[in-house]
Symmetry: none
Subunit: 231 residues, 2 copies
């Protein structure tokens, strides 16, 4: 699954973007400060980063972050798109010169942002070698997540889960040991009933137990939510 990082300090906007991108079936990780982002992005290695230019107190925290990321080997070539509320052309030039790939005005429709992201992802994809790309995977104890195709395996046995299930599983496992509330595990709009999460957890457990009757990694924290127990 394509993984996109958002760096935006306005919580409302951040969640708007998160919603929008989730709807495109992309995995989203949000950061609200430059400090969080520069550490987090390196460790969660997203496929693309969406960065608000006017981040933090400084007028151009986003630019600083971009410069920073471009100096770190792991993120030297990370596709970066700037979000800007001001639409002066200097911004665009400055951003591009710092090593960003493109920019989007926050004033326009978010459809534009999606189109820009898609175009950039396509460009990056064009140049992926067919064979030299081993399937990316993330290991959390006995669990292995394969974001590329939204699959998972437990003790090296492939578990046959659906995309919705993967979504929840990934959210749990990515934050292993930490509590995830119902809301945090909800896939789409928060309008849907809470049973949805419950149902998916149920199905996940069933599928894992079919492989390993002793499976206990999904822990329910009564009244709070769920968590993934590292083994």
């Amino acid at each position: 699954m394509t993984h996109i990082a958002i760096v935006e300090d306005d919580p409302t906007l951040a969640s708007n973007y998160a919603d929008l991108l989730s709807r495109e079936k992309w995995e989203v990780t949000s950061f609200s400060s430059r400090e969080d982002a520069s550490i987090g992005i390196v460790s969660c290695h997203p496929d693309l980063a969406l960065i608000d230019v006017g981040l933090g107190a400084e007028e151009d925290g986003g630019f600083l972050l971009c410069r920073e990321l471009r100096m770190i080997p792991e993120t030297k070539t990370l596709p970066i798109i700037f979000l800007t509320s001001r639409s002066e052309q200097m911004d665009r030039i400055q951003g591009l010169n710092l090593g960003a790939d493109d920019y989007c005005s926050k004033d326009q429709s978010m459809d534009v942002t999606v189109a820009v992201i898609k175009a950039l992802l396509r460009r990056v994809d064009f140049s992926k070698l067919p064979d030299s790309n081993p399937r990316e995977s993330k290991k959390v104890g006995s669990l292995t997540l394969f974001p590329d195709d939204m699959r998972a395996s437990w003790k090296n046995i492939q578990v046959d889960i659906t995309v919705g299930e993967y979504d929840i599983l990934a959210k749990l496992a990515r934050h292993a040991g930490m509590l995830r509330t119902h809301d945090q595990l909800t896939i789409r709009d928060s309008v849907v009933s809470k049973n949805t999460v419950t149902s998916n957890i149920k199905r996940l457990r069933q599928k894992f137990e079919k492989i390993d009757p002793n499976f206990k990694a999904i822990q329910t924290e009564h009244g709070r939510g769920y968590s993934w127990k590292k083994d």
Copy 2:
């Protein structure tokens, strides 16, 4: 030397751009009509093309050209930047959906254009692949692809497929075993024609099954996309 193609029917503008780009030490080739460009670009294989949207008599000759180029194997992944005098947001989305990489308004300073070009070149450069000869036939299990004439054979029996079908087949088979999303299998607009991929998959399966009733190499991964199963 980086080689850039300009497609612009206003001679004054064309020469302005040519000057500007030459100043960046880039080699420039200009075309003034869609017809010239579609032939010329294929044969002079530039590193990037700058295309005026309002090319020729039609209001959107540039779009037509882009679509054309995206269907020709040699220019399928050519970096394309649109030049537009109108700056409506629909233009940007439409252009991007046609497979372009970015756009620039002709109203702004040309410095912006240069910055955009540089950003795109940088992105392409990040991932220069040791180009394998695209003319060589490629074998993937029982399947053999012949890029020259866009044909394919299955167990040494020639399958009579069309270019559009070849396109999708190649994308699937070249990434054998890996998931290809709907978006990845289509170059053009994914909003208007979502069934296009489905239709082509359908036809491909039909044609392969006619040869080999047991054909199962195209696997659908529900909610994810399709993949080619190695045999």
